[in-house]
């Protein structure tokens, strides 16, 4: 078991595995998103309170969920890298940050667009969910700025891992903000006590979108990790052999 784990986390092994993994994640991901988009836009019933505006949920919820999942990858990768000095873990953390920032931006903008017709405002500064999600975006920006400001990769890994671990507190706040404080934002929809608060024809497209976006995130993350591994290992013998091999190794 340990041997398998050790092999999996070796940079050359992951580089090759990543190339195989990407289409296996991307193709089912795209199929699920295609189904989720069609069913969410055209088959799901109209919400009795929000009308058709509720359909924004099919892109907003996956984006918000991935904004937190990417941070979890970043903090977990940073933590593992700090404790066990595993090269691949820091590469995972560095690769997750730009994707996390993109999905956080998407969650914030789709949330604001949804908020305008429902709450009568694009943004509410006093709202804990909105503000903590904005802080999450700033944490991603801070993490990326910190990494790019340090030339030494090992030092950048350590400093950014500490920042990622400290910022985990904010992810917990984002998740529980609607329960802990009074918020304009609606409460939990899927992980509610007594089951999801949605009809099946609304729920299944949402689950398909969440799973589909997670698979696409996995494919994008795998490609970014491969790039990060290639850059970090650029002076090693396996990269030299890979580049000089007749079939190449893109």
């Amino acid at each position: 078991m340990w041997k398998f784990f050790h092999k999996l986390t070796s940079p050359p092994h992951f580089y090759r595995l990543g190339a195989t993994l990407i289409p296996w994640l991307a193709i089912p991901g795209l199929v699920l998103i295609a189904y989720g988009t069609y069913a969410g836009l055209f088959l799901a019933s109209v919400d009795y309170q929000q009308g058709d505006a509720f359909r924004i949920i099919y892109v907003h919820v996956p984006a918000a969920y991935l904004s937190m999942l990417a941070y979890a990858f970043m903090a977990f990768g940073g933590g593992i890298g700090l404790i066990w000095r595993m090269k691949l873990a820091h590469a995972v953390a560095a690769a997750a940050a730009p994707l996390g920032a993109a999905f956080t931006f998407l969650a914030l903008v789709t949330g604001a667009i949804w908020g305008r017709p429902m709450w009568g405002t694009w943004w509410e500064w006093g709202d804990p969910r909105l503000t903590s999600e904005l802080i999450l975006l700033f944490l991603y920006f801070g993490y990326m700025a910190l990494r790019s400001s340090i030339d030494d990769t090992a030092k950048a890994d350590k400093a950014s891992a500490v920042l990622a671990l400290v910022g985990v507190v904010n992810v917990v706040i984002v998740h529980y903000s609607v329960e802990w404080w009074s918020s304009l934002h609606q409460g939990q929809t899927l992980f509610k006590e007594g089951g999801p608060a949605m009809d099946a024809d609304m729920l299944y497209p949402l689950l398909a979108m969440i799973l589909g976006f997670t698979l696409i995130f996995g494919a994008l993350l795998s490609r970014r990790i491969r790039t990060e591994v290639l850059y970090r290992e650029r002076r090693t013998r396996w990269v030299r052999e890979l580049v000089l091999s007749p079939e190449g190794g893109k």
Partner: protein
């Protein structure tokens, strides 16, 4: 046309889906460009070294 109008919420709904498509496509494109760039830089450096030897 009703499907496009989305009960008068069309601009809100469609702009969210369009923005999502843009973010995912740009993320994919940027990761491809960055990967190719890193690979090409390494390839040029290694081939230059090989030629010198």
């Amino acid at each position: 046309m009703d499907a496009l109008a989305m009960g008068n919420y069309g601009p809100y709904v469609w702009s969210c889906f369009a923005l999502t498509l843009i973010v995912v496509v740009v993320s994919d494109w940027r990761s491809r460009v960055r990967h190719n760039q890193v690979y090409r830089d390494i390839e040029v450096r290694i081939k230059a070294l090989e030629e010198r030897q």
